[in-house]
Amino acid sequence: MFVFLLTDIFFYIIIFSIGLYIFYVRKTKDILETWKHVFRSRTGIISIVVLSFFLLIAILDSIHIKEKIYNEQTESFSYESEIKSVLDIILLPTYKNYEKSYSSPFSSNLYSKETIILENNIERRVYPKLLYKGNHNKYASDNTANILLTFIISLLKYFFVFSIFYLFFYFRIIFKSKNNIFIPFKLNKVFLMTLSIILILSIFLYELSLQYYVLGTDKVGVDVLYKSIKSIRTGILIGTLTTIVMLPFAIFLGIFAGYIGGFVDDVIQYIYTTLNSIPSVLLIASAILMLQVYMANNPLNFENIYERADLRLFFLCMILGLTSWTGLCRLLRGESMKLREVEYVQASKTFGLNRFSIIVRHIMPNIMHIVIITIVLDFSALVLAEAVLSYVNIGVDPTTYSWGNMINAARLEMSKEPIVWWSLFSAFTFMFILVLFANLFSDVVRDAFDPRSNKNYE
């Protein structure tokens, strides 16, 4: 049975609107030209591929189901209380078993010594062997050789599965290149290279994590790699949902203030100046604190832990959105004010076009570039902000998988000797990859869309 969490629904809406936007772009010639500029740059195409891969993982992780279980005693079907995502089902073989506690990456035993009583009642302090992974090499007993062999086998698997796909793709480009946005063949190589590297890496990681804990295990023995992958959804959701929440406010209020002016302008300006003058961390903190009090005092509304965590994530996005729309609103107000005086807008006014039509036909399309630039620019900042907010305890729910929570938990283990570094390492690495490519992407997008950008020097 499918389960739709609140954030899932909004995430579907986001995906749907991205789809709509692509459809719209393909029909509109000048915007298509601008996007082609993005696709022509090497950085642009690499970051698009990487980000799409992250997005795909997030989508797979947003389709939730409850499994049906057959109860033999009552001879009836019932649903499990645990909610799983499609991603969980795909990754199930890699994470289903828990170890006892910490273990370092690729190791075959636990991180700390334990006392074991041997047959003849002698006590020994040893590192206990891991139960499920690390001692089950598939291809060779030596670890290095085994990893190498695993890599070769995943390469072979990759070529076997995707050669057909590539052949298909190759012919499609040659015969149907009319509407294709990857026109220059040189860049197609970049596209295919990036895609292959990602696919080979993910197959390799999957194969490896059947045999090892590639990034070790955490305090309660959960695979850190699995946790990091699950955190992708949280990161992407915070980066996208927040902007989607704030977008309607920013666009409508910005245009109204700029285009209509007068009293409306004063009121809207007052609202965003007021919100803007509160330091954003403090505003977010106050709002989340109050949400916490509300949730603590009304526990009945949030029965299911999944729903509770999900609702908190959703409210976090709402609150982040409410604090961050002011910047965009101000930009849009200025731009609409400029556009109001432009000749073609004046002309449509004299032709008797009403305000609404002028806004929809002339103002909206001409401020869209600002909106696009803001969305991609904000994304990376929001992903980074999540970690900081979780550190202050005003981020996502402690039960949600997120990089911030991972860092927060691992920080307390810094004083251990030797240091438990892998949780921190994986959280930071995953976050770095996502944010880096988001930043590179936003650079390319800004260059393409911003008329003022220093194109000559890039």
Binding site: Y270, I271, T273, T274, L275, S277, I278, P279, V281, L282, L283, A285, S286, A287, L289, M290, Q292, V293, Y294, A296, N297, S380, L384, A387, V388, Y391, V392, N393, I394, I407, R411, M414, I419, L424, F428, M431, F432, V435, L436, A438, N439, L440, D443, R452, N454, N456, Y457
Partner: protein
């Protein structure tokens, strides 16, 4: 000029009232004081008397807006709104939920915050501008390209990584400075070096890129072409013309955050155990001490508005083309 400043200060009043109403709604209307008290006392088996006394100790035992049981002005004065919100305008922050005088704490804690924030800002500014000028000098070459990529990479690293990594590397492995803590007077330096260093490193990526784009915007203007066609060298154009003109947006960007430096940096202070306003706020958030959070929101807003006014004034000082009305 003085007229203008006066006008700006007058304009700040409705904003402060708005902020005040907003925080009041958040802290007292969304959840009633009783609910907050229940949270602090622990949810289970809390009697109404306990809640009453908790509220009485902290002055939350009044009605929100109108006190019907009083007479005269006290109808308005003996309310939560007057006691907790209006009094902020007289800078009377009251006592925190744990019973300390907030105003005293803020006065004590603002200096350590400044001791970290001001050096970080100044050193960071110098380093970022130097790098930016360097990249602009080599613009459209490999040096510039690699530099920008490097900046983007630096920007993409979480601030927590810089702090945790720096603490581990410099304090724990190399043992150059203590991990955390604070001391009065000159001794404070050894505690301040690492946080300042980390704040600077963290800011390099975004700062350098931002200043670079400011310089590049300036370099495209006509007066630069004129200067070049007069035969001036690249270095002299860059320092005497471009740098001076780009200083205007840089300066205004710096002035606006100057007052906010008192608030300090939340994360850095709390990691390094600096007793500043940043760690004060974090502690308040973590222990759910709402009185402190309310006071900090108000203080932050005032400092921000003050920064905006300062920016406008500094504009007229550095750029004679700008006249304030």
């Amino acid at each position: 000029m003085i007229n203008y400043i006066f006008k700006r200060i007058l304009y700040a009043i409705p904003i402060l009232i708005g902020v005040n109403l907003l925080t009041f709604t958040l802290f007292f209307v969304v959840n009633s004081p009783d609910e907050v008290a229940r949270l602090h006392l622990g949810n289970k088996r809390v009697t109404q008397e306990q809640i009453q006394s908790w509220n009485e100790q902290r002055g939350y035992n009044f009605p929100l807006f109108f006190n019907q049981s009083e007479t005269g002005l006290n109808v308005i004065k003996k309310t939560i709104f007057y006691e907790k919100s209006v009094k902020l305008f007289y800078f009377d922050f009251g006592i925190s939920d744990s019973g300390r005088d907030i105003k005293y704490d803020i006065k004590q804690r603002m200096w350590p915050s400044l001791a970290i924030a001001l050096p970080s800002l100044l050193v960071g500014l110098m380093i970022n501008i130097t790098f930016a000028l360097f990249f602009v000098f080599f613009r459209a070459t490999k040096v510039d390209y690699i530099g920008v990529i490097f900046c983007v990479a630096l920007m993409s690293i979480s601030s927590l990584f810089y702090i945790i990594g720096g603490q581990y590397l410099i304090s724990k492995l190399l043992q150059l400075v203590p991990i955390s803590g604070y001391a009065q007077g000159v001794d404070a330096i050894k505690f301040l070096i690492l946080p300042v260093f980390i704040s600077v490193i963290y800011g390099i990526g975004s700062g350098t890129r931002w200043y670079r784009s400011l310089f590049l915007e300036e370099i495209e203007k006509d007066y630069v072409k004129t200067a070049k066609s007069k035969g001036l060298s690249e270095v002299s154009v860059l320092f005497n013309h471009v740098f001076k003109n780009a200083l205007i947006p840089i300066l205004t960007g710096v002035v606006v955050i100057l007052p906010l430096l008192f608030l300090g940096s939340l994360i850095v202070e709390s990691f390094f155990g600096i007793p500043g306003l940043g760690s004060y706020t974090i502690d308040a958030i973590q222990s759910q001490d709402f009185a402190i959070v309310r006071a900090m929101v108000f203080l932050g807003t005032i400092l921000y508005i003050f920064g905006l006014i300062l920016t406008d004034i500094s504009y007229t000082l550095v750029d004679p083309r700008v006249r304030l009305k």
